[in-house]
Subunit: 258 residues, 2 copies
């Protein structure tokens, strides 16, 4: 197959997601960096100023990327349909998620992009990804930098990641998988269901709910859940609460007999 | 040896040279990109505005790189002492110099930087390297880009190259060479000597001098001349003109006899 056409198809499944970007110039510079590497799908979660003339000035001809950008109100809206979210982080975090280098991660991104949408998620200029955004990522990527000055500009980080993806696409041969990976909203549905169930069965009386949910999220992020597996796990949760409900009814019946 | 110290030493031999940069903001953003990857020696050939508050604003903490930047009046001044100059090009040129990808080139840069100064040379924002700048480069590097939109921002190009150099330094083990590569000024001395000699011996009466010199420059750039070899070649040139001078004297003597 023609290499360029092949990349067009692969890159059609790649979205760059910028969360809460402060400076519109950075959005424009990121669009330019993307387009120069052949990427074109930009998602913006609550940008402070957008559209904005500064974004167009910095885009320097990548105006089509800006004009087609999807502005979203939440992370979940931006990740709708996505099967692999890669969060970019400058810090080593206390909760040790799997952290890869760009060169390690991009072949995995391409592998998924062969069949399903993937997201490259960038946090704000000042503070990077929030804990919530980290919790939505299956993979974290750190651009190796000077330990004494690890301050990459947002557009520079988009440039490095887009470049690595582009170079990887020249050599990577995605293998078509049999398994159907779970989409973002399926995983979120499972997490909501799980948390609700753990509340119902009284699991959280001795545990810190948010901390526990973060650990469970990490476990399932590592597992890269398949669509069928989400259904199985939710089936288990449904049966658990039904069992619990039956127990409650029986308990009430027992009590009313006394 | 400690990896970080090792890099500090290697990177001490690497200078980033920006030629005739138009926008001071790009100089600042380039300084930030360099520092984030552990590079610190910036050379500026005739920047339009420098020093400038915009450069400092975009440097975002890499002010030390700006403050130590060396402003030069000419390419030869900026390349003084350099044994390998890598020119960044966005175009395929009519005179087909050797063009590498960043990933291919950076191990060669590190190899030389182990013992001698090297230069990463970036042209202006609008038009890239001049023909003169290309002629001063032993190696040309092209950052692979979208054929329909290959417009990388200057600082983005500096970011990609610095990143590749940083990643290469993690794996590359420079081998200490026996041969002493010729420094930039030695090569330029040879070229001046060669051109002068070719004029003297009447070689240019049937040739376009500048075109011929460009071809000869390309030949010697490919050869990566050693210091001793420059001396040998200049020795040959000296003997050639001496021979030529003797011939002239004899010719004059023969004529005066008649």
């Amino acid at each position: 197959m023609d290499g360029v056409l092949d990349n067009l198809k692969l890159f059609d499944h790649v979205r760059v997601v910028l969360s809460h970007t402060t400076h519109p110039g950075n959005i424009g510079a990121a669009a330019r960096a993307m387009k120069a590497m052949g990427l074109r799908h930009l998602y913006l979660i609550n940008p402070r100023h957008f559209p904005d003339p500064q974004a167009h000035a910095m885009a320097a001809g990548a105006d089509d990327v800006l004009e087609n950008a999807v502005v979203c109100a939440s992370i979940d809206e931006a990740l709708q349909g996505v099967v692999l979210t890669v969060g970019m982080t400058a810090r080593v975090r206390d909760i040790s998620n799997e952290v890869s280098s760009p060169r390690e991660a991009m072949p995995q991104v391409l592998q998924q992009a062969a069949t399903q949408p993937v997201a490259l998620l960038f946090g704000t200029e000042m503070s990077g990804l929030t804990n919530e955004e980290v919790s939505r990522s299956q993979l974290l990527v750190n651009i190796p930098a000077n330990p004494e000055f690890s301050s990459l500009n947002l557009a520079a980080a988009v440039q490095v990641i887009s470049y690595e993806l582009s170079v990887a696409s020249e050599t990577c041969q995605p293998v078509v998988q049999q398994a159907q990976p779970a989409a973002h909203q399926q995983v979120e549905g499972l997490m909501t269901h799980l948390e609700k169930t753990l509340h119902e069965i009284g699991f959280f009386t001795t545990q810190n709910p948010s901390r526990m949910m973060q650990r469970l999220r990490r476990l399932y992020a590592r597992a890269r859940l398949e669509s069928d597996e989400v259904n199985i796990l939710r089936g288990i949760l449904s049966v658990t609460t039904e069992y619990n409900a039956r127990l409650k009814i029986r308990f009430q019946q027992e009590q009313s007999k006394d």
